[in-house]
């Protein structure tokens, strides 16, 4: 039997999604549910000096208004609660948009109207909002979970002095927000001491743990459900206050409470990509050997958390550079806590991959060739392989498919009517760490199988690829197997972030399925009623739901037959902790620039990636299309505009925060996959989702330079920068 793994299998949950059958957190209908709405601060820093909820309480339908005056004291959990403080506990305002009151009313409209009636007075303190507001206040934070924020190999400064060719420039990118189409929502339902949370989260297990700590209750009394997510991109991976607060207030009002954040609230209620300044000095020889890298970055931090989330790890993993110095600073500001956003490598790679293009021009060398001469698969600290073994093949194959050889390297040399054509490329890379995942497989008396794991489908295709994996591991057709997720009653898995779901969960499913399969084979050969009775287990093969004696294929049984006779389900569990990984590739883009009016169109993209064994060509390609599309927004239009006087976001909506629309996106996106199993993974898979955005901004900026001769180092590249 041909395995379904690797094929372009359509999404198993697709029908439910397009027909409205898929129920997202906010779709949850609970009898007697009442509605929450958050009133939020309109200052960035200061104290609440007066607070009057009398008008709000008197408004129609209002059941309660919670604030620092009457909210029970909650424990502030540590990571993965990233906030450093809990709202509604005291009068301190840490950032604009901080919840200051939680209104509960019979209807959403009543709650929202009452939230407007909360009267608050502030003592306003001067606030610092942007990196430009705090010159000289940046510092090197203590090491985070990824390790230290400073890496020194050799002597980069001396090597730069000596370098035959060098470039030294500063690159900047603005605040970005995730903007998942589904805003965050929580429905909290208490039954006695037991709490059920329907939550739009990329981590039901982290939500369970954080709410348990905050409310001081045992985690086993909390069940978190998230069967579907309308995107997350990191916004929903940590646990944010709205979930904790909804759980707490639902207990007090004695009714189920539903809270759905507005789009505007999403700009301060969860994380975002911090503003990023990046100085990159790169040195090399005239033959194109990189000799020195100095990467100094600075990014926004809130005052209550000092973890760096735009990590520069890739700076020392991608290229063989003997002398390097990477230092990542942050600045504490009066802003809501920045966090990770697909993908943390994006901002640093924009600088590094732009600088490489600039160096290639300085040397007079093809940018692809420059990279090929410097790619490495040797970890600079461990000396072991990184996972880059096929990166050169990615570059060659994508260059070939793109037609890179047709490129005249001189800027503004390729033209079609009014438009100048530019080709640009960049390397893409994303790291991920180990996560533990568990799964259980149950084969029923009807011979059908179900696997369960407390993981998530954030829109990436988890339901589908795990179903494929299960079918392959059991030797069953797709139609006989089923995968369930999004329930903390299932075996625990990590968050669905950092592109780590596939390499952790698919192996746990594979292991559980293989164990269950062995049990069924053992049942068959031990069963006198089975045609396979007495066959050595190693001779039994399973294809398409049937068990064969490989030496005599006329002797066969089926899952249905074996399980029907056995009369009880068979279950088995699997556990896997994935190896840390590094998934890389290369992106090529074509842009067309009308320089008179500064208009840029991205007209073609070709990518090649090494994502280990490809589970599903359709969903993998979906990640590439998403990455390229988002990369176009990153390069050309996305920018959270924040008023530096007040800290308020000026464009907190999809009308004025400009994500790309169809018209911005090329119809021609070709995704090449190397499709070789990763030796570090039992089933050959690697984490992939985030990689295909990481190089796109630099590739587009490099292409614009090729088209126009203009080197834009400040994102987004809006038309005014090209006039």
């Amino acid at each position: 039997m041909n395995s379904p793994v690797g094929r372009a299998v359509p999404r198993v949950e697709g029908y439910a999604k397009v027909t409205g059958g898929a129920k997202y957190a906010a779709d949850t209908h609970v009898p007697g549910v009442v509605h929450g709405y958050l009133a939020t601060s309109t200052i960035a820093r200061g104290r609440i000096t007066s607070f009057d909820v009398s008008r709000a309480l008197a408004a129609p339908g209002v059941l309660a208004v919670f604030s620092h005056l009457n909210m029970p004291r909650l424990t502030v959990p540590t990571a993965p609660y990233p906030k450093g403080f809990m709202p509604l506990q005291d009068t301190r305002i840490h950032h604009d948009g901080q919840p200051i009151a939680y209104v509960v009313a019979e209807t959403l409209e009543q709650a929202r109207e009452a939230a407007d009636l909360v009267e608050v007075g502030y003592e306003v303190e001067p606030a610092q909002i942007a990196l430009e507001d705090a010159p000289g206040e940046d510092f090197l934070p203590p090491p985070g979970p990824e390790g230290p924020y400073e890496v020194i190999l050799g002597d980069a400064h001396a090597a730069l002095e000596r370098a035959e060719v060098k470039v030294d420039h500063t690159f900047t990118s603005p605040v970005h927000h995730h903007n998942p189409i589904e805003t965050s929502a929580t429905v909290a339902v208490w039954e006695g001491d037991k709490l059920t949370l329907h939550d739009s989260t990329q981590s039901i297990n982290l939500t369970q743990g954080v709410v348990s700590k905050a409310l001081g209750m045992p985690p086993e009394n909390i069940r978190v459900l998230a069967p579907y997510l309308g995107g997350g991109f990191g916004a929903k991976a940590p646990v944010w206050p709205h979930t904790v607060l909804t759980a707490a207030v639902a207990r007090i009002v004695g009714k189920p409470v539903k809270l759905v954040l507005t789009r505007a609230q999403m700009y301060t209620a969860s994380g975002y990509r911090a503003q990023f300044f990046h100085r990159v000095a790169l040195g090399g020889t005239r033959e194109g050997k990189l000799t020195a890298l100095h990467s100094f970055s600075n990014q926004q931090l809130s005052r209550t958390e000092h973890r760096i989330f735009n990590t520069s790890e890739t700076s020392w993993l991608l290229y063989d550079i003997k002398d390097l110095h990477v230092r990542q600073h942050g600045v504490r500001l009066d802003i809501s806590t920045p966090h990770f956003m697909r993908s943390p490598e994006g901002p640093p790679l924009f600088g590094l991959e732009s600088a490489l293009d600039e160096l290639a021009y300085e040397i007079g060398m093809d940018p692809v060739e420059l990279r090929l001469r410097n790619y490495t698969d040797v970890h600079p600290e461990t000396g072991g392989p990184i996972g880059n073994a096929n990166l050169a093949e990615c570059a060659r194959r994508a260059a070939e498919a793109f037609g890179w050889a047709r490129r005249d390297p001189r800027p503004s040399s390729m033209r079609d009517g009014r438009e100048f054509i530019g080709y640009g490329m960049a390397t893409e890379a994303h790291t991920y760490r180990s996560r533990q995942a568990n799964a259980v497989v149950e084969i029923g008396v009807d011979g059908r199988a179900v696997a369960r794991s407390a993981t998530h489908d954030i829109g990436t295709g988890t339901y589908t690829v795990m179903t494929q994996m299960l079918a392959e591991s059991l030797g069953m057709p797709m139609g006989r197997v089923h995968f369930e997720l999004g329930d903390t009653n299932f075996p625990a898995a990590g968050f669905s972030a950092a592109s780590v779901t596939v390499p952790s969960v698919s192996v746990a499913v594979d292991k559980a399925a293989r164990t269950a399969r062995e049990q069924v084979v053992a049942l068959a050969v031990a069963d006198p009623r089975s045609p396979l009775h007495g066959t050595p287990v190693e001779r039994v093969v399973i294809e398409n739901g049937f068990l064969f004696d490989n030496a005599d294929r006329d002797r066969r049984d089926s899952y249905e037959g074996v399980m029907g006779r056995y009369g009880r389900p068979v279950t088995a569990t699997g556990r896997h902790i994935n190896a840390p990984g590094y998934t890389t590739g290369v992106v090529f883009v074509e842009v067309r620039v009308d320089p008179w009016i500064g208009r840029v169109r991205v007209t073609r993209a070709v990518t090649a990636h090494d994502l280990g064994r490809v589970l599903n060509r359709t969903t993998a390609r979906g990640q590439v299309i998403g990455g390229v599309t988002w990369g176009i927004g990153y390069a050309l239009s996305e920018h959270t505009v924040i008023d530096r006087r007040t800290g308020r976001t000026v464009n907190p909506n999809l009308s004025t925060y400009l994500l790309p629309v169809n018209a911005d996106t090329p119809t021609d996106i070709e995704a090449i996959f190397i499709d070789k199993p990763d030796p570090a993974s039992p089933n050959g898979t690697k984490g992939f989702g985030e990689t295909p955005i990481t190089g796109v901004p630099a590739a587009i900026a490099n292409a614009i330079h090729h088209a126009t001769g203009r080197r834009i180092r400040d994102l987004p590249i809006t038309q005014d920068k090209l006039l």
């Binding site: 929202r112 008179w596 208009r599 008023d643 000026v650 009308s655 911005d664």
Partner: protein, 327 residues
Amino acid sequence: MKNFEYVRAKDPADAVRLVVERPGAAFVSGGTDLLNLMRDGAQSHDRLVDVNGMGLDKVTIGARNVRVGGWARMADVAAHRFVRQRFPVVSEALLASASPQIRNMATIGGNLMQRTRCGYFRDAASPCNKRVPGSGCSALDGENRWHAVFGGSDHCIAVSPGDLGVSLLAVDAVVLTSGPRGERRIPFGDLQVLPGDTPHREHVLDHGELIIGVELPFSHFAGKSKYLKLRDRASFEFAVVSVAAALDLRGRHVRDVRLAFGGVATKAWRSFAAEDALRGKELNDSTIEAACRAAVSGAVPRKHNAFKVELLQRAVSRVLHDLGGVR
């Protein structure tokens, strides 16, 4: 969002009465802008009078003009063969607006009455003289990349949004209204007012005065017209700079011309100075350049929007070259 009463009007006269009798009432048709404004607290009404289903949603061709019903949907007008042939600038402006879904829902009258996209106006927590008279203007010294370089005052520099109005200036369109004072014909150029020290007043309509149609008069220039919209993404986005141009060209001789701009001013902006630089002259590189310079005379750029002065000249130049066949 405040509670409000929803009523359906039987006919335009009924609609006018239902709004006039209640100071907090407003008309609603497509609702594509109004409902967002109400949700965001930028506007509140205690009564919405639904004016759908009263007819007046067709394009009718007369002897001297084309009459577009006030409730005609943007998509229908844009696709209308006669509008496309005789008033291409209007069709192009409509097609450059919003998204297909919004164009299917939004009406011509509603489009002309949409409110500014200024982020401070739309944020109920920010000072804004247009939303709360006397509260101050956050944009003057704030994030004003998207704001006006023409027609602003010390009280407001919010850009008048939308493309249709700009195109109407290029074809001498007339707005037809029905209100407490009866029916009126208002040249579109007289409909909108500058903010001055009353930026909350955006037009000359009375409370309860309803746009029931728009007349597009036939002219020698309307048939040779064009709309160029420059924006920060390729679709579903308001203009950073837009230009509506119409030319009555005999050979190289400009008999008449209309030039109007969007994205740069506090109302749809007609540049008489730029028109005068061309009218009666030969259309060539140097007269086009003179028109571009005239187009931006009197511009008042702010901290973040000075680029609009350059971009507008380039856009005008591009449109005139294309429309006039000047290479």
